[in-house]
Symmetry: C2
Subunit: 243 residues, 2 copies
């Protein structure tokens, strides 16, 4: 792949302007490429982990299984996102990680990261930003579950996903491909799959957004933003990170 075109490079570039040499270091992190099949857990809940990954292609879901068998999805990962970084740092994983489709991911050892950071401190800063952004997304997700009704929750989710995908060149303000099932949405949004179906129908009939045949189409972007009170600042705000 050409330098600077990996999803991660695109994502970080939205935050800091990376130099050519920094981009080279970044691409080198993508060297140990691996493939994984859909549905086969990358990390089992409770397992301790040794490597993290940078997702290069495909979609992944991070989830937590309850003792009663129900599942809460913590977040979805798309190309350019890290997988299992926290698990590596903590040497334990409190959640499972499963590819939704067949994926490509680059294995990253802690030593790789440390070496990269030593070479380019600005890269360390950018990656710290990425990790913190992940945390901010979890918090926003928490707010959604606690204080938004089903419609606004769905609207916010679809908008956030669209914004994330746009940042890595996989979507636009008009539409994006999305391999998630209504069961995925239900487990992420804390709803029943039946109700997800009804909510999607309502949003479609209201002319706001259409999710069909694996594609999300924004019929009325502004209207959807208003319904969800969506403020994308936490996804791509470009502020100075460290002095």
């Amino acid at each position: 792949m050409a330098i600077g075109t990996s999803p991660l490079a695109r994502k970080l570039s939205a935050f800091v302007k990376l130099s050519a040499s920094e981009l080279v270091v970044l691409e080198r992190l993508h060297e140990r490429r691996k493939s994984f099949s859909a549905g086969r857990d990358l990390v089992h809940q409770g397992q301790s982990e040794q490597a993290a990954y940078i997702l290069a292609a495909g979609w992944v879901v991070s989830y937590k299984i309850q003792p009663d068998g129900s599942r809460q999805i913590v977040d979805f990962q798309i190309p350019g996102d890290f997988l299992g970084l926290r698990s590596v740092l903590l040497h334990t994983s409190d959640h499972g990680i499963e590819p939704i489709v067949d994926i490509e991911a680059a294995e990253v050892l802690v030593s790789d990261l440390l070496r990269a950071f030593a070479e380019t401190p600005r890269l360390a800063t950018a990656i710290l930003w990425a990790v913190s952004r992940d945390e901010a997304m979890v918090v926003e997700h928490l707010v959604g579950l606690g204080r938004r009704d089903a419609d606004a929750r769905m609207a916010h989710f679809l908008l956030e996903l669209g914004a994330r995908l746009s940042l890595v060149g996989m979507g636009s303000r008009q539409s994006y491909p999305c391999p998630l099932t209504q069961y995925h949405l239900a487990d992420a949004l804390g709803l029943s799959a039946i109700h997800v179906n009804r909510v999607l129908r309502k949003l479609r009939e209201d002319g706001l957004v259409t999710f069909r045949d694996g594609v999300v189409v924004f019929d009325d972007y502004e209207g959807l933003v208003a319904l969800a009170d969506f403020d994308p600042a936490y996804l791509d705000h470009a502020r100075p990170l460290l002095p």
Copy 2:
């Protein structure tokens, strides 16, 4: 204060055995002590921040205000917890931080942290663990909002808080003092204050837990653990963090 008796030292000691010299470095982080009054925001939502704090005494709430005026509490901080650490790293804050009672907190600059880490790498490891634990708590909170009913949610919350307080010597398996109002609980658990009241009554009448006059009393600890499916592993598990 005597060496090694700060709440933070107690908390970290549950994870790694800190040497005498490491404890000294840790106590030195507590030097710039400050007081703040209840109800006056430490950090406003949207404000960019310059300093983090280690909470020494009192309770603090981190929250997010919705455009419609409703509030979602992300977490409560108790002595030994960091305040605004992520805000400092990101140079922005997406949430507010407010003392619930009058508090004492030690100001910590990024430079202080970096110096401490340079002196004792093990301390850096321990603090990294603390930060990751905070994140794990947010995830657990997310699961509660998404997949637990009001009773289990309340039970889980009271148990987690009890476990956290025990770790810093402010509670036990029998009871702990707790200055939160039912409105705090409502905003944290994504419920209405009215329903919080009913849930508390039910748990009390079922002989599980009593929250009254600022004190939480566990009437049937095991029963409450069963109701909540509470597994405290993520709060104090003592595993090797880094090789």
